[in-house]
């Protein structure tokens, strides 16, 4: 079924229906189509962070990817996947607020396509900001349809916070480039069709000026993916060894040597994506925990609950303000820091509330919190560490000297 019959292939945003009509229609569609809790498509188990073995983790992750992929396809068929994108990119040519309406509704129903954030948020940010119309029409439609997922190949053993030190090299060859090097901390590398790659095309001495950004096909010879086990027990991250992989001409995003510029767009989008949250309402879950444990009247517990509610709601309201056009300096870094701090503090708060039950992972009350507790440190690293975010806020947001 198509919810967006009004938007033809050439429909510009001026032809799109008004926000109230669209919102009503989206709400009705979600009411009829959003997966219910406890159903086979329930999203509450989609956030996979652990596994006893790499096989078990992969099995759980593949299931999560499948659930998310089906949901993305369903959204696409209803005309609700990235509606603000032009029709030739797989969208509906809707105004930007249409994306917000769908996102808000997803959050309300506890469903999310965050697992595909690199494809759905970072790749388009980069392609709309620096790519050509041809590249957008080539790469974006399979993402919107839920057919292809993307990953990022940025960090290297010698290039963490200091990304300008990337050494993976792309060398010109007949019809494109040949890439060789080693990348690390790549999430979802296994199932990804493409990667956003930062590679050196100039000399080492050129630093950030010698970098370029590419779309690299992951399903080709010369790419070896090795899972890394994280502290949470999951195999989220991978090392990726690249040995003579090929990138055709169309794969260069932005100009040769513009990699740093493109990277800044990519990282800003990543920060916003992380700050945008996963839809998990940890303060609501904390409230439920406190009630089930009968601790509502404990003054110390109430202080913990209030602090969590204040953090979560002020973060939500800050996101709404940004969406409403308020000027919040370095908005992406602000929401990213607030979100990762909330994730950390909430899981620590839950441990305090759980008491001894927080020492065992096979207690049904403690299990989800221990997963969060063990995942939270990574949220403070991904998309740039807390320290890098604070530098960004200070320098780009507040205008302090470098």
């Amino acid at each position: 079924m198509s919810i967006s019959s009004a938007a033809g292939s050439e429909a510009g945003s001026e032809d799109f229906e008004d926000r109230a009509t669209f919102t009503a229609r989206v709400r009705a569609w979600f009411e009829a189509n959003a997966p219910r809790r406890g159903s086979a498509e329930d999203f509450s188990a989609v956030h996979v962070v652990s596994g006893q073995t790499v096989e078990e983790f992969n099995e759980r992750e593949e299931h999560a990817v499948e659930v998310t992929r089906n949901w993305q396809r369903k959204l696409y068929e209803a005309g609700l996947a990235s509606p603000s994108w032009p029709t030739e990119c797989g969208g509906q040519g809707a105004p930007e607020w249409a994306d917000e309406v769908v996102l808000a509704e997803q959050s309300r129903w506890g469903v999310s396509t965050k697992m595909f954030a690199v494809g759905l948020e970072m790749a388009p940010a980069v392609l709309f900001g620096h790519g050509s119309a041809e590249q957008r029409a080539h790469y974006l439609p399979p993402i919107v349809r839920g057919e292809q997922t993307w990953c990022q190949l940025l960090s290297e053993p010698g290039a963490g916070s200091d990304l300008a030190n990337v050494q993976t090299r792309a060398t010109p060859v007949e019809g494109g480039w040949s890439v060789s090097g080693q990348k690390v901390w790549t999430s979802h590398a296994g199932g990804a069709e493409y990667a956003l790659l930062i590679a050196r095309t100039g000399t080492r001495e050129e630093g950030r000026k010698g970098l370029s950004c590419f779309a690299l096909r992951m399903t080709q010879p010369g790419i070896d993916i090795r899972p890394l086990r994280q502290m949470s027990g999951g195999y989220h991250f991978n090392e990726v060894f690249i040995d003579g992989a090929f990138i055709p001409e169309i794969g260069l995003i932005g100009g040769l040597g513009d990699g740093w510029l493109v990277l800044r767009t990519m990282l800003a989008s990543e920060r916003a994506a992380i700050g945008g949250g996963t839809g998990a309402r940890s303060s609501t879950q904390l409230i439920g925990l406190v009630r089930r444990l009968g601790l509502q009247d404990d003054e110390g517990v109430r202080e913990i609950v209030a602090a969590a509610v204040i953090r979560e709601r002020t973060l939500d309201f800050t996101r709404f303000r940004i969406a409403a056009g308020h000027r919040v300096a370095a908005a992406g870094s602000v929401t990213k820091l607030l979100y990762s701090e909330h994730a950390r503090l909430s899981s620590e708060a839950a441990m305090t509330v759980l008491g001894l039950a927080g020492t065992v992972a096979d207690d049904p009350e403690s299990a989800p919190w221990i997963e969060r507790l063990l995942f939270a440190p990574g949220l403070r690293l991904g998309g740039g560490t807390d320290e890098i975010q604070r530098n960004t806020i200070a320098e780009r947001g507040l205008g302090l000297p470098r």
Binding site: S283, T284, Q285, I287, G288, V290, R291, Q296, E299, V301, R302, E303, V305, A306, A307, V309, I310, R311, R313, T314, L315, F317, T318, F320, R321, A323, A324, G325, H326, V328, A329, A330, S333, V334, L337, L338, E387, Q389, R390, N391, I393, A394, E395, G397, L398, G399, L400, P401, R402
Partner: protein, 376 residues
């Protein structure tokens, strides 16, 4: 909820900003802090009469402009930025909200138009001397009625602008419970003594009532519910003011960090200063989000007000205190001097944090509300 400001609201902000830029520079704030009134009546008349800002949230039938708390919040935020010395919180927020909450049409018609015009300043008196928290059980003013009407006897303290207000709305006890009474500030039997306020830009007074003539406002014994709503509105309004102050001191700290050179470079180029200021930016923006949300709730969704107000009370006061305190540290020695404005904001921050319930008290209430509302 809607966070987008209209063109009209943006225009209001610019107008208030420009007016306060002109009338409330630091020199004027300091001059007024040394006067007995604590504010400039001529400026207040311009603010209320010429610009119509005192009656912004008062209904048109009572001489106001008929807007709501979103607009009033814009004014308070700007006022908080400059430490505008004026009976804004006392007369426009506390007194007008109390009258509107009590819904006494005759009293409203008698008092609100003059409050809106700025020709009468009013305030609300509710706390006994040495009170620690806002607690209506602690009220120590008694009302009695005889053939000539009501009279009030007792003592009330911490009354905002209590030494200058023309109209005192006094919370007093009768056999039926708590009620609000209107008392002429200059009436016989009213003795007003300014208190030595920590924040010299906002005055408080102790008022001793000795058989002072009073007029009952609203129904006898029915003030408690109305006052709970008034304190919520006051908390929200104060939150907007605190956000304005916090944003201003953060600007001061950032400006100074850019120009102050030590070790041969601007101190703002050191990561310890950058990270401190980045954290303050998070604090200010979070508080601003809480305040804007609550202003919207006050205007559009009153059922959510207790929760929204406690959210504000639970974070905005602390945000201002943190920002004002760290601003002094970024400035170093000069920030600790009397001549620098940092201490004016520091004192305002610490005092305003305690006015309508402490942050800890608000957080306890917020937790009670969300734990009771949860069906999970």
């Amino acid at each position: 909820m809607n966070f987008a400001f209209t063109d009209e609201q943006n225009e209001l902000r610019r107008m208030v900003h420009d007016f306060l830029d002109e009338t409330s520079p630091e020199t004027e704030v300091r001059r007024l802090a040394e006067t007995s009134l604590g504010y400039d009546p001529d400026i207040w008349l311009r603010f209320a009469g010429e610009l119509g800002l005192a009656g912004l949230a008062i209904p048109e039938e009572y001489g106001g402009a008929g807007y709501g708390f979103v607009e009033l919040g814009i004014v308070l935020e700007e006022a908080g930025r400059t430490l505008f010395g004026a009976p804004l919180l006392s007369s426009v927020v506390l007194a007008a909200s109390t009258l509107l909450a009590l819904g006494d049409k005759s009293a409203n018609a008698d008092y609100l138009p003059a409050i809106a015009a700025g020709t009468t300043t009013a305030t609300l008196a509710f706390a006994p001397p040495s009170a620690r928290l806002v607690d209506t059980d602690a009220v120590r003013v008694d009302a009695t009625r005889d053939a000539r009407g009501w009279t009030l006897t007792g003592t009330t303290s911490y009354v905002l602008d209590g030494h200058t207000a023309d109209l005192l709305l006094v919370v007093a006890r009768t056999g039926a419970g708590l009620s609000v009474f209107a008392v002429d500030g200059a009436a016989p039997g009213v003795a007003r003594t300014p208190q030595q306020t920590v924040d010299q830009t906002r005055r408080q007074a102790t008022i001793v009532l000795d058989a002072a003539a009073a007029r009952l406002v609203g129904d006898e014994g029915e003030a408690c519910a109305a006052l709970a709503g008034v304190f919520d509105l006051a908390t929200v309004a104060l939150g907007a003011e605190q956000v304005g102050g916090a944003a201003r001191v953060l600007e001061q700290a950032v400006e100074y960090a850019k120009i102050r050179v030590q070790f041969g470079r601007p101190i703002g180029s050191f990561q310890s200063i950058k990270h401190k200021l980045a954290d303050l930016h998070l604090t200010v923006e979070s508080a601003r989000s809480a305040a804007y949300h609550a202003l919207w709730v006050a205007a559009e969704s009153p059922d959510e007000l207790p929760e929204a107000a406690s959210l504000v009370g639970g974070c905005c006061g602390d945000a201002f205190v943190t920002t004002a305190r760290e601003n002094i540290q970024v400035h170093g020695g000069i920030g600790f001097t009397w001549e620098h404005p940092a201490h004016l904001y520091f004192k305002r921050a610490h005092s305003s944090r305690l006015l309508f319930g402490t942050p800890a008290q608000h957080r306890q209430r917020l937790a009670r509300l969300v734990l009771a509302a949860s069906t999970d």
